[in-house]
C-alpha cells in the first residue's frame, strides 16, 4: 500500500500514516525535507544545476552579495546602510558584522533602555527596538538564534525582568563557546522556571530540562537513552528560584543552590561515571560528535539553507572543534564560505515575521517606529501573550515561541492568515498607519516622483534589482507608465507592490 492510499478500514478522507510515531517531537526538519525533495535540488537541480543558476546569477554582483548577507546576518537593510556597505565592499562589511564588539551601539541601547520592563510586552518591545536599530545586526541575529534554540516563554516564566536578563545573556554570549552558553542557560532563572530545574530535588528529580537539553538544545533524538535522561536529571537537582509576588507574575530572584536538595551520588551518563554535576553533564554532551553536528547543523540551517547533508556540514564541524567549540568561528566560516553565496542559498529561506516586518520598516526608513508593531494588546479571547500586535498575527512574538521546540520556521511561517497579516502590514506601513487602529501614524518618505525613479531606488534596495520582466512590467503598468508623475496614492501603491512582492518574503 502506498503512502496516502487510504486503507479499507479507514474512510477515504483519511490515510494511514507510515511516518514515525506522531508524538516523536519536533518535525520541522521532516516537512522542510519534504518540500526540498519536491521543489528543491532533486527535481530542479542542486547548487550547480543550470536551472537554479538563472535567478541566482545576481550573486555575481557584489552589492547583491552584501544584501544577501544582511538578510541573513541581520534584519534587512536600509538605504543609507546599503550605500555605506557597498562603499566599504563585502570584505570590510563582513569584518564589521563579525567584530561587532568593536562597534559602538550605545545609541540603540539608549533607545531600548528608554522603554520600561514589565511582565507583559515591554521586554519584547525593547528587543524589537534593538533588532530594528542596532549597528550590530549579527549580534542581534545570534541573540534571536539562541532564543529560538534555548527557548523560554514569557507567558510561562511570567517575569519580564527574568526574560530580559536571559535575553542579555544571549546577547553577551552571542559568539561564545557552546558549552559555556549551555552552562550559563542551565543557571538562568527564567530557564530554571520554564523547564522545571526550579524545585527539582534529590529523590524526585524533574526530567524536563535534562530531556530538552539533549533532545532539542544540544544533541538531537537518537543519541541518548531514557536512562541518560534520568541520570542527567539527578545532576540538575538542588536549585531553587526565589520569588516575590507582583502585579502580574512573580519577581524571580537569583537562583540558589541548596546542597541538601542536590543528588550528589554517582551517576552514569553517556558512558561517563562519577559524581556528575550540571557542568559535567553539559561537557559530556558537547563532547559527543553528534552534538557538534547538531549545533553546526542548526547554525547552517539558520544562515545558509535548510537540511544540509553531513558532507556539507563537515568543514564547519571541523572549524567548530578546532575553535574550542566557540560559535563565532563557525558563523564566520559560514558567512565567508562559497556555499553561502552559492545559487542554492539564494532566496532559499522564508523570512520569519521579524525579518519580514523589520526589513520592511528599515527599507522605508521607519525603523525607529518598530515598537509601534507592539502597541496592540492581545486578542479579545485573552490568549497567551499580552503583546505582539501585528507580529502575533504574522505568527512570531519574540519571547513567546509556540513551545519548547521553538518556531518551526520555513514553510510553516506561511498560511492564509499569516499571508494576509504580512501583506496588510506592508499596506499599513506604506500608508503610514502603523498601529492597527490607525492611532499612530508615521508617514514614510517616498523620495521619488515617477515609476522610473521608484524602480531605480527600490529594486536594488528590496529585490537585488533582480526581478523577472513580467514583474517589472506589472509595476510599470500599475504606475501608468515609467515617467508619469505619480499621485500620493499611486506612490504608496507602488511601494506596496514592491514590498509585497513574493521575493521580499524570501531571505
Amino acid at each position: 500500500m502506498t503512502e496516502g492510499q487510504p486503507g479499507a478500514e479507514t474512510p477515504l478522507l483519511y490515510r494511514r500514516s507510515t511516518r514515525r510515531a506522531v508524538l516523536a517531537g519536533a518535525g520541522a526538519a521532516a516537512s522542510l525535507a519534504a518540500l526540498y525533495a519536491a521543489f528543491g535540488d532533486r527535481v530542479l537541480g542542486g547548487a550547480d544545476a543550470p536551472a537554479a543558476a538563472d535567478e541566482a546569477r545576481a550573486l555575481e554582483r557584489e552589492e547583491v552579495r552584501i544584501s544577501h548577507l544582511l538578510r541573513r546576518a541581520g534584519f534587512g537593510i536600509s538605504q543609507p546602510e546599503l550605500t555605506r556597505y557597498v562603499n566599504m565592499g563585502l570584505d570590510a562589511t563582513l569584518d564589521e558584522l563579525l567584530r561587532f564588539e568593536t562597534i559602538d551601539d550605545s545609541e540603540t541601547e539608549r533607545l531600548a533602555d528608554a522603554l520600561p520592563i514589565d511582565n507583559r510586552g515591554a521586554p519584547v518591545a525593547r528587543w524589537v527596538v534593538r533588532m530594528a536599530n542596532t549597528k550590530r545586526p549579527l549580534q542581534e541575529k545570534m541573540t534571536l538564534f539562541w532564543h529560538g534554540l534555548l527557548t523560554s516563554q514569557l507567558s510561562v516564566v511570567r517575569d519580564g525582568n527574568a526574560m530580559h536578563a536571559q535575553n542579555e545573556f544571549f546577547r553577551a554570549n552571542a559568539f561564545g563557546s557552546f558549552p559555556d552558553i549551555l552552562k550559563g542557560i542551565s543557571r538562568d532563572a527564567a530557564m530554571m522556571v520554564y523547564l522545571d530545574i526550579d524545585g527539582s530535588q534529590r529523590g524526585a528529580p524533574n526530567e524536563n530540562y535534562a530531556r530538552e537539553l539533549m533532545e532539542l538544545f544540544a544533541l538531537g533524538v537518537g543519541n541518548y537513552t531514557e536512562q541518560d535522561v534520568r541520570e542527567a536529571a539527578r545532576a540538575f537537582t538542588g536549585w531553587r528560584v526565589p520569588r516575590q509576588r507582583r502585579d502580574f507574575g512573580p519577581a524571580l530572584g537569583e537562583p540558589v543552590f541548596v546542597p541538601r536538595l542536590h543528588d550528589d551520588g554517582t551517576k552514569t551518563f553517556l558512558g561517563r561515571t562519577g559524581e556528575l554535576g550540571p557542568d559535567d553533564i553539559v561537557d559530556t554532551i558537547t563532547q559527543q560528535p553528534a552534538s557538534a553536528r547538531y549545533i553546526v547543523r542548526r547554525l547552517f540551517s539558520y544562515f545558509v539553507y535548510p537540511d544540509p547533508s553531513d558532507e556539507e556540514l563537515e568543514p564547519f564541524t571541523e572549524v567548530y572543534l578546532a575553535g574550542g567549540r566557540r560559535i563565532g568561528p563557525v558563523v564566520e566560516a559560514l558567512l565567508r564560505s562559497d556555499v553561502f553565496y552559492s545559487p542554492r542559498a539564494y532566496r532559499a529561506l522564508i523570512k520569519s515575521p521579524l525579518e519580514y516586518a523589520i526589513g520592511a520598516l528599515k527599507a522605508l526608513g521607519l525603523e525607529s517606529e518598530a515598537p509601534a508593531l507592539l502597541t496592540a494588546p492581545g486578542g479579545p479571547e485573552g490568549g497567551r501573550g499580552g503583546a505582539g500586535g501585528r507580529l502575533a498575527e504574522m505568527g512570531q512574538v519574540p519571547m513567546e515561541p509556540p513551545n519548547v521546540a521553538g518556531w518551526r520556521g520555513g514553510p510553516a511561517w506561511l498560511n492564509s492568515a499569516t499571508m494576509f497579516a504580512r501583506l496588510n502590514f506592508i499596506d499599513a506601513a506604506s500608508r503610514g498607519l502603523l498601529s492597527p487602529r490607525g492611532l499612530r501614524r508615521a508617514q514614510p518618505e517616498l523620495p521619488f516622483r515617477t515609476a522610473a525613479e521608484a524602480l531605480a531606488l527600490y529594486l536594488p534596495l528590496l529585490l537585488d534589482d533582480n526581478v523577472p520582466d513580467e514583474q517589472r512590467q506589472t509595476l510599470i503598468e500599475y504606475a501608468g507608465g515609467l515617467d508619469a508623475v505619480l499621485s500620493p496614492e499611486k506612490k504608496q501603491g507602488l511601494v506596496y507592490l514592491l514590498l509585497g512582492s513574493p521575493q521580499f518574503h524570501l531571505a
Partner: protein, 413 residues
C-alpha cells in the same frame, strides 16, 4: 492567477517526474478523489473555555454534603440549581444548556482529566491541546488530524480558528491552518473605496503569478498560499453576505465567532469544507469574586451556543455539526478566602449534537476521596477526543493520540 487546480496539476507534474513523492504532495494528488467522495461531511466545533472553569459550580453536585462543606459561601443553593438528575444540576445561568439537554441535544462527560494534573494555565493548556500529558508533542491533536487528511493541503478552509493566533491544538507538521481574527483582517486591506483598490490588488496577484524562477523552492508555495488566502477570504465574505441567520446572535465575540462558523458550514453548493472550527471564551480564572464573573460567562456561553445550535438546525445542518467544550482545568474543591477558587484538576466537558446520547456520561468524581484537595479524574480527556475522532470525524484516534484510549460511549448507535 493560479488556481488551486493548477497548483495540483503542477504538483502532479512533480509526481510524474518519478521522484520519491513526499506525503504532502501524495495527499494533494489524492485530493480531487477525496473531494468527490467526501459526501455529507461533518464538522466539529471546539470551544475552548480558557482560564479553568469551576466545574463544580457549572455542573453542581447539589445533593452532596461534601459540596456544601467545601463551598459554604460559593455553593449554588439547591433551590437555584437546574436539576438534571442523579443529584446534579446546572448553574442557573446555564438555562440554555438545560433546554438543549431537555431537547435531547446535550451530553456532559463528567470528571475529565489526566494523570498528574498540571496547575499552570499554559502547561495545562499545552497538555489538553497536544493531548500529551508530558506536554512534549510539538503538534496539536487537531493539527495531527489535519496532517492525516488526504486533502490536508487542498482546502484552506478545512480548519478555521477564530482568533488572532493559532491555538496550539491546531499546530500541524504539514497542514497550514488559518487563524481568523475577523473578516476584515482575513482579507487584503488597502485604500478602501478608492479607484486604485482594484488595480492595486490585481497588480499584487500578478506579481505572485508571474514569479516563476526555476530553482527557487518557494515561488510556487508563495503563489499558492496567496491564492488560497484570497479564495478563502472571498468564500468567507460571500458566505457572510449571503447568510441569513435564523436567530439573533448575542452580542459577544464568542457568538460572532460561532456565527462565522455557521456561515461557513452553510456555504457553497455541496458539503461544507469545514471539518474543525475552533473558538475561545476566556476569563474563567476566578480566584476572587467568582459568583458574578462565573454567572456572566456561563450565561454568555449558553446563549451563544444555543443561538448557534438553533441556527444550525434552522439551516438543516443538525446532523453535520458537533460541539465540544474543554477547559485546561477545574478549580479546587474548597473555596478560597476571596470568594473565589484556585486552580484545580478535573472538570466536565459539554457536547452538543444530534448524534449524542443526551445526559451525563462517565462517573462523577468523588468529593471526599481527594488528591491533595483536588478531584481525581474519572475519564481521561483523551477518551473523549478518541470518541470524537473515531465516532464523529471518522479518523484513526490511536494514531492521532499516540496510544489507544477507549472512546467514551457518547454517541447513539
Amino acid at each position: 492567477m493560479i488556481s488551486r487546480r493548477d497548483f495540483l496539476t503542477r504538483s502532479m507534474a512533480v509526481v510524474s517526474l518519478g521522484v520519491a513523492v513526499p506525503g504532502v504532495f501524495a495527499k494533494a494528488a489524492l485530493a480531487a478523489r477525496a473531494e468527490a467522495s467526501a459526501g455529507a461531511a461533518r464538522t466539529l466545533v471546539v470551544v475552548q473555555l480558557a482560564g479553568g472553569v469551576d466545574g463544580l459550580n457549572a455542573l453542581v453536585p447539589y445533593a452532596s454534603p461534601a459540596y456544601r462543606d467545601n463551598r459554604p459561601r460559593l455553593g449554588i443553593p439547591e433551590d437555584e440549581v437546574l436539576p438534571i438528575g442523579d443529584g446534579f444540576g446546572f448553574h442557573p445561568a446555564l438555562a440554555d444548556f438545560k433546554a438543549l439537554l431537555d431537547a435531547g441535544h446535550l451530553a456532559v462527560v463528567q470528571g475529565a482529566g489526566y494523570p498528574n494534573p498540571n496547575f499552570s494555565h499554559f502547561k495545562a493548556m499545552d497538555i489538553w491541546q497536544s493531548a500529551d500529558p508530558e506536554g512534549k508533542a510539538a503538534s496539536g491533536w487537531l493539527g495531527r488530524y489535519f496532517d492525516g487528511l488526504v486533502d490536508a493541503s487542498g482546502h484552506p478552509l478545512a480548519g478555521l480558528s477564530i482568533g488572532r493566533s493559532l491555538p496550539r491544538a491546531f499546530q500541524a507538521e504539514e497542514a497550514t491552518l488559518p487563524a481568523v481574527g475577523s473578516l476584515e483582517s482575513f482579507a487584503l486591506q488597502g485604500p478602501g473605496n478608492s479607484a486604485d483598490a482594484g488595480p492595486r490588488r490585481a497588480g499584487l496577484l500578478r506579481m505572485y503569478d508571474v514569479y516563476r524562477p526555476a530553482g527557487t523552492p518557494f515561488a510556487a508555495l508563495l503563489d499558492a498560499t496567496l491564492d488560497g488566502a484570497v479564495q478563502s477570504s472571498a468564500e468567507l465574505i460571500a458566505a457572510h453576505a449571503a447568510y441569513e441567520p435564523a436567530v439573533a446572535y448575542p452580542d459577544s465575540s464568542l457568538a460572532t465567532g460561532l456565527r462565522l462558523l455557521a456561515e461557513l458550514i452553510d456555504s457553497g453548493e455541496g458539503a461544507s469544507p469545514l471539518r474543525v472550527g475552533h473558538v475561545t471564551l476566556g476569563g474563567f480564572d476566578t480566584h476572587a469574586q467568582q459568583p458574578a464573573v462565573l454567572e456572566g460567562l456561563l450565561a454568555q456561553l449558553g446563549a451563544a451556543l444555543s443561538a448557534f445550535w438553533q441556527d444550525v438546525v434552522a439551516h438543516g445542518h443538525e446532523d453535520e455539526v458537533l460541539v465540544m467544550t474543554w477547559s485546561e482545568f477545574g478549580r479546587r474543591v474548597r473555596e478560597n478566602a476571596n470568594l473565589g477558587t484556585d486552580h484545580g484538576s478535573v472538570g466536565p466537558m459539554f457536547l452538543i449534537g444530534n448524534a449524542l446520547k443526551p445526559g451525563l456520561h462517565g462517573d462523577p468524581p468523588s468529593l471526599t476521596d481527594l488528591d491533595d484537595g483536588n478531584l481525581r479524574y474519572t475519564v481521561d480527556f483523551r477518551s473523549v477526543y478518541a470518541a470524537v475522532l473515531e465516532g464523529w470525524l471518522e479518523a484513526p484516534a490511536d494514531e492521532i493520540l499516540g496510544a489507544h484510549f477507549e472512546p467514551v460511549d457518547v454517541f447513539k448507535t
